[in-house]
Amino acid sequence: MSIFTKYEPLARSLAAVTNGGGRNPFSVVIDHPVSSTVGVIEGRETLLFGTNNYLGLSQSEAAIDAAIDTLRTHGVGTTGSRIANGTQGLHRQLEERIAAFFRRRHCMVFSTGYQANLGMISALAGKDDYLLLDADSHASIYDGSRLSQAQVIRFRHNDPEDLHKRLRRLDGTPGAKLIVVEGIYSMMGDVVPMAEFAAVKRETGAWLLADEAHSVGVMGEHGRGVAEACGVEDDVDFVVGTFSKSLGTVGGYCVSDQDGLDLIRLCSRPYMFTASLPPDVIAATMAALSELEQQPELRHRLMDNARRLHAGLNAIGLRTGPQASPVVSVVLDEVAQAVQFWNRLLDLGVYVNLSLPPATPDQHPLLRTSVMATHDAAQIDQAIEIFATVAREIGAGH
């Protein structure tokens, strides 16, 4: 028996997706970027509507220049973890910049956003504590909960009352209770009712961690995310985020006013046992953060574009999530139809993400799009037109 025998059902599912000559959606190669919004795929210039590069800053000239300058002065890597092999001045500088941006006392930087959730959740919740997770939480949150050994309880998605009920069941039970929510949920782009969750947190004495990976740089007057937009930042004990979306680089972080955060550096395995961020990434991230701070118009353009795409897809009879946000997902009924739709979109020059159950809510396949501040109106209209053409071809939508 092969060590891969257990993956035979997975192999059959993949074969079903590629049957009939379709592409493997998980192996698409973007040969090179032409701009933040256009990439070359299969030799053709293709509109990019699936990169999470919300502000287009992966192609920021200022960030590129900062990275090149820093490569010349600092070299290409750190070759080790901060605990074992040392923190560089740039790591400290980045943490101070991120803390100042969020107006928090402390910041801890991780090598990826995934590791930030994994590292924070696993270290904050011990085996006698309770983690209360939104049912639609990202895999990094579920994986962090498994690494934590805490008792894990799910509550219904975006439902503060359901959370409250589950916390009431824990009344009198010893152990800290840590609620984990996301600012914008990555599959459907729906926004957390943060003020209502903050109220439950205050009433029950639980702790609150918000993963604002998809909402920092996107929501709030200063781009600090949904907690800022809802005016409840003081209630969020820990904000986790990533550099790989609105800031266009790679890495993750947690900010907090809790002095205990420094102790997490000595007990969070995903922080301790991995190589730290390289100097060029740190320099590019700080430059991108300056752009995010100095150009609020990027956020306004992003939300205008999100509304244009959301309204356009609804107008041609496709079903999306209820809110316009930078993630706009088209909900389909059948996997085979979604696969065919996704392939035709790429044939006609639009790249989106094909998201399949069980990674999606409610067992529906999704054509997940993400919008950018740097898309122009003509690109968005062209993408909507191509969606309409394919929907007609394959009889999707209404």
Partner: protein, 83 residues
């Protein structure tokens, strides 16, 4: 009121049968993943329904040891007894 394992098992089966995709011949010894063809997410969502009916929370780590409907019923009864 305190439910017995048989009561809880019956309630689980009744809840499952409300889903037309579930085979009609399930019993307490049916395996939730193999016999019902549930994936990990479907199991968690179904357990959430049962939690609400019985006003109990089943921590996710407990699910790892549960194979059959009776296993789930046993787990819920022990949680309700404050185990």
């Amino acid at each position: 009121m305190s439910e017995t394992v048989a009561d809880v098992s019956a309630l689980i089966i009744q809840t499952l049968l409300a889903n037309p995709k579930v085979p009609r011949d399930i019993s307490g010894s049916s395996k939730i993943v193999e016999d019902l063809a549930f994936d990990s997410l479907a199991v968690m969502n179904f357990v959430m329904e049962i939690e609400d009916s019985l006003d109990v929370s089943v921590p996710l780590d407990r699910l790892a040891d549960i194979r059959t409907i009776d296993d789930l019923a046993n787990c819920i009864v022990s949680l309700k007894q404050g185990d």
